[in-house]
C-alpha cells in the first residue's frame, strides 16, 4: 500500500510529439483509481511511465513521498498486469509467479509461502504445474495477477487487463478484481478504454484525453457533474445528447436558454453575465428525456428507429440538420415505432450546459435528483481550466 503523487508529469517523443502534457495526480494509499480515455489518449503511456517502463521526460513522480523518477521498475516496488498477460511461456504457473522472488534471492520457503498464498487467493492451486499454453484466458489472467500479487508490491498497475477476454468472462473477472481490492486493500491504478469498467471498479476515475486530464472524480461525480463536453459524452452509454442553444439570460441561480427550436427553457444552472448572448450547448442524458403528448409537449421529433433491448428501449430521434440523432432511453418496453412523430420534454433539473469551448457551467441540481453522495459535500468540480484544477493535488 502506497501513495502515488504525479507532479506535472510529461512525456515527449523527440521535439514535436508530446503525448503526456503535465499531469498532476495524487492516488491515496489503498485507493482504486481507474484511468480511462479513448485509444491514443496516452493512458497506457502514463501507466508505463508510472511502472518505469517509459522514461519520464519532465515532472516528478513520488511513491510514499520518495522521488522515483530514476528508479527501475523493480526498485519502484510495483506489480504490473499486462494486457497480453505476458506470461513466460517456458515456465509453469508456479515458476511464473516465483520468478521475481527468485531474482530477489528470497529464501526458498519464503518464495513457496508467497506463491502458495497468491495461488490460494486466486484459486490457482490446481494449476501450479501447468504451463500458460494449457490455461484458458481467464486462468492466464489470474496467473498474471498472481504474479503481481506474489511480489507484494506497493502499487498494482493494470493495463487493460480484461480486453482480451470475452464478455461474460470480463464481467466475472471485473468482480474478482473488485473483490481482490477489497481483500488486499492495495493501491491500484487501472487503465482501460471501457467506461463501464471504469464506472464499476473505480473509487475515483481519471478521464484522460490527448495527454491531458479532463476530470478526476468518483464515478457518480463524473456522471452527474461532467466538467466538460468530453467527459459528458465519454461517461455514460448511450452518450449524452447535445443540443445547440443560445444563452439569453444569465443568472446565479437560473439561466434561460433558447433552444434551436426557438423555445425558451429555464434551467437551474449558474452562468456568468459575461456569457449572456453566447452560443451554448444543452446536454441531457438519454434516460432523462421525457415523453409528452404530441399536442402538448414543447418539442416534436420524428423517430428514426427503435432498438429493443428487452430491459430497456432506445429511440433515435431525428435532429434534423443538427447532426447525430438524439437518443431517448426508456426503461420500459415501448410501443413507439420508427416513423412516428413524438412529443418530448427536457426536464430542466437534468440539463447540463456547456459554453462554446465545451466547459460546463455549474449545475445546481444533483444528478438524477437523488441525494448527494455521502461524504462528498463540497462541489467537487471547479470549472476554470479543467485539466489542472480538477486534478486532486
Amino acid at each position: 500500500m502506497a501513495q502515488l503523487t504525479l507532479d506535472k508529469l510529461n512525456k515527449r517523443y523527440g521535439e514535436a510529439a508530446q503525448v503526456i502534457k503535465g499531469i498532476d495526480l495524487q492516488v491515496n494509499s489503498g485507493e482504486f483509481v481507474v484511468i480511462v480515455g479513448p485509444s491514443g489518449c496516452g493512458k497506457s503511456t502514463l501507466l508505463r511511465m508510472i511502472a518505469g517502463l517509459e522514461d519520464i521526460s519532465g515532472g516528478d513522480m513520488y511513491i510514499d513521498g520518495v522521488r522515483v523518477n530514476d528508479d527501475t521498475p523493480s526498485e519502484r516496488g510495483i506489480g504490473m498486469v499486462f494486457q497480453s498477460y505476458a506470461l513466460y511461456p517456458h515456465m509453469n504457473v508456479y515458476e511464473n509467479m516465483a520468478f521475481s522472488l527468485q531474482l530477489a534471492k528470497l529464501p526458498k520457503d519464503e518464495i513457496a509461502r508467497r506463491v502458495e498464498e497468491a495461488a490460494r487467493i486466486l484459486q490457482l492451486e490446481p494449476l501450479l504445474q501447468r504451463r500458460p499454453k494449457d490455461l484458458s484466458g481467464g486462468q492466464r489472467q489470474r496467473v498474471a495477477i498472481g504474479r503481481a500479487i506474489a511480489r507484494e508490491p506497493k502499487l498494482f498497475l493494470f493495463d487493460e487487463p480484461l480486453s482480451n477476454l470475452d464478455a461474460a468472462l470480463r464481467v466475472q473477472m471485473r468482480m474478482e478484481i473488485a473483490a481482490l481490492h477489497r481483500r488486499l486493500k492495495s493501491t491500484i491504478i487501472y487503465v482501460t478504454h471501457d467506461q463501464v469498467e471504469a464506472m464499476t471498479l473505480a473509487q475515483r476515475i481519471v478521464v484522460l484525453n490527448r495527454g491531458n486530464v479532463e476530470q478526476v472524480g468518483t464515478p457518480l461525480e463524473l456522471y452527474d457533474h461532467p466538467a466538460n463536453e468530453f467527459v459528458a459524452q465519454f461517461i455514460g452509454s448511450p452518450k449524452m445528447n447535445l443540443m445547440p442553444a443560445t444563452l439569453v439570460r444569465a443568472g446565479e441561480a437560473d439561466s434561460v436558454v433558447r433552444l434551436w427550436s426557438g423555445k425558451d427553457l429555464v434551467v437551474p444552472i449558474a452562468t456568468p453575465a459575461s456569457a449572456e448572448g453566447t452560443k451554448v450547448k444543452l446536454g441531457i442524458r438519454p434516460e432523462h428525456i421525457e415523453w409528452g403528448s404530441v399536442a402538448q409537449a414543447p418539442n416534436l421529433a420524428d423517430v428514426l428507429f427503435v432498438e429493443h433491448m428487452g430491459n430497456e428501449t432506445y429511440h433515435y430521434l431525428d435532429s434534423g440538420k443538427l447532426g447525430e440523432p438524439w437518443v431517448v432511453r426508456d426503461s420500459r418496453r415501448s410501443d413507439i415505432a420508427a416513423g412516428e412523430t413524438v412529443g418530448y420534454r427536457l426536464p430542466p433539473e437534468h440539463c447540463h450546459l456547456f459554453d462554446e469551448s465545451g466547459k460546463a457551467f455549474a449545475r445546481r441540481a444533483a444528478g438524477n435528483g437523488a441525494s448527494r453522495i455521502p461524504g462528498v459535500d463540497a462541489p467537487p468540480i471547479t470549472f476554470a481550466e479543467p485539466a489542472r484544477t480538477n486534478a486532486l493535488h
Binding site: 497480453s84 505476458a86 520468478f99 511480489r151
Partner: protein
C-alpha cells in the same frame, strides 16, 4: 460449385451405378486421400532415392570390396577388411590408419571450434540486429554477403589474405605491432587449422545470425517488460527469457552447422591443399578414392563419415526432443 451443380443431375440419374459395382471396391474418403498423398509425395521420394539412397547403397556395397577407381566392375568381396583387418600381427584398413584418426581429430576440432565461435558471434550479431536502429535493413542485407560467396572463392580470398608475404592479415598484425615477423598462416601446421576456422566462421556467421534473429523476433517484447518489472537485469533477461525461448531454433541451427562442419572439404582442400595438419575425414575419403584410386577403402571411409555425421545429428535431435526447455518452446 457451378461445375458441381451441373454434373449433379446426370450422376444422380445413374446413382445406382456405384452400388452395382462391387460394393467392396469403393474406397473410403480417407483411403483416397492417403492414395493422393502418396502420389504427390512419390516424385520427391523417387528423386531422393536416386540422388541420395542409391549412391549411399553403392558406397556401402563398394566398401566391402577391393574395387579400384578405374575398374569398378572388377571386384572381390573382402568383408570388413577395408574397415579393419588383422594379418600377420599387424592391423590394416581405415580404422587402423593413423591418418584417418588424425583426420577424425582434425574434423572434430574444426567442428567444435568453428561452430562454437559461430554460435557466439552469430548470437552477438543477432542480438544487435534485433535492436532498432537506423540502417537496420542495410545491415541485415549486407551481413548475408559472406554467406552468398561460393566456398571456393572464400577459400581463395582468405588464402590471399593469409599469404605470408602479401597478405593483409600479416600486414595488419605487423602494423599494430602484434607480431614481429610475418606468420606462415597456411604452411605452419599449428596455424593452418586456425586459418581454416577463421575463414569458415567468417563465412557462416551470417547463417547462424539470421537463424537466431528469426527466433529472437518471435519473442514478444512485453515478456521483456514483464521481466524488467520482475527485477531481471539484462543478463538475467537473456539467460532466463531469451535463451530458453530461442533454444529450439538454436538447436536446429546448430544441427545444420555441425553437419556441415563435419563434412567440410572444399574450404580445407583449397585453402591448405589438404595438408595432413588440416585434413578432414571427407578429405581423407577423397584422398583414398581419387588420389590412391582405392575405391574400396575410400568407400569404407565415406561410410564412416556418413555414420559419424548421422550419429551426431541423431544425438542432437534426441537432445532437442528430450531437453526440457526445447520441448516446451517447440510446442
Amino acid at each position: 460449385m457451378s461445375h458441381n451443380s451441373q454434373t449433379l443431375p446426370p450422376s444422380a440419374a445413374v446413382a445406382p451405378a456405384p452400388a452395382a459395382r462391387a460394393p467392396g471396391r469403393k474406397r473410403s474418403l480417407q483411403q483416397r486421400r492417403a492414395r493422393a498423398a502418396w502420389l504427390l509425395v512419390a516424385p520427391a521420394l523417387i528423386l531422393l532415392f536416386a540422388v541420395a539412397g542409391w549412391p549411399l547403397l553403392r558406397t556401402l556395397f563398394y566398401s566391402f570390396t577391393d574395387a579400384a577407381m578405374d575398374t569398378p566392375e572388377e571386384y572381390n568381396f573382402v568383408g570388413l577388411a577395408n574397415y579393419l583387418d588383422f594379418a600377420e600381427g599387424d592391423s590394416f584398413g581405415v580404422l587402423a590408419d593413423p591418418l584417418w584418426w588424425q583426420a577424425v581429430g582434425n574434423t572434430l576440432w574444426f567442428t567444435a571450434c568453428s561452430v562454437s565461435l559461430e554460435l557466439f558471434f552469430g548470437m552477438l550479431l543477432a542480438l544487435l540486429m534485433n535492436e532498432k536502429f537506423r540502417g537496420q535493413g542495410v545491415v541485415r542485407a549486407a551481413i548475408l554477403v559472406p554467406w552468398a560467396i561460393p566456398t571456393i572463392v572464400t577459400a581463395k580470398m582468405w588464402g590471399w589474405m593469409f599469404h605470408d608475404q602479401y597478405g593483409v592479415v600479416n600486414d595488419l598484425l605487423l602494423r599494430f605491432g602484434l607480431i614481429e615477423t610475418p606468420l606462415a598462416w597456411i604452411a605452419e601446421p599449428t596455424l593452418s587449422m586456425w586459418a581454416v576456422v577463421i575463414a569458415d566462421v567468417w563465412k557462416t556467421v551470417p547463417f547462424m545470425a539470421l537463424m537466431l534473429l528469426a527466433a529472437l523476433q518471435m519473442i514478444p517484447s512485453d515478456l521483456y517488460e514483464a521481466a524488467r518489472v520482475d527485477g531481471a537485469n539484462a543478463w538475467q533477461r537473456f539467460r532466463r527469457i531469451t535463451l530458453p525461448l530461442i533454444m529450439p531454433a538454436m538447436i536446429v541451427a546448430l544441427i545444420f552447422r555441425v553437419m556441415d562442419a563435419l563434412r567440410v572439404f572444399d574450404l580445407i582442400y583449397v585453402l591448405t591443399s589438404n595438408s595432413e595438419a588440416t585434413i578432414s575425414i571427407s578429405g581423407y575419403a577423397r584422398e583414398q578414392m581419387i588420389s590412391f584410386q582405392e575405391m574400396g577403402v575410400g568407400s569404407a571411409a565415406s561410410v564412416l563419415v556418413f555414420m559419424m555425421v548421422a550419429g551426431i545429428a541423431a544425438c542432437f535431435l534426441w537432445i532437442n526432443r528430450f531437453s526440457h526447455e526445447g520441448k516446451e518452446a517447440k510446442e
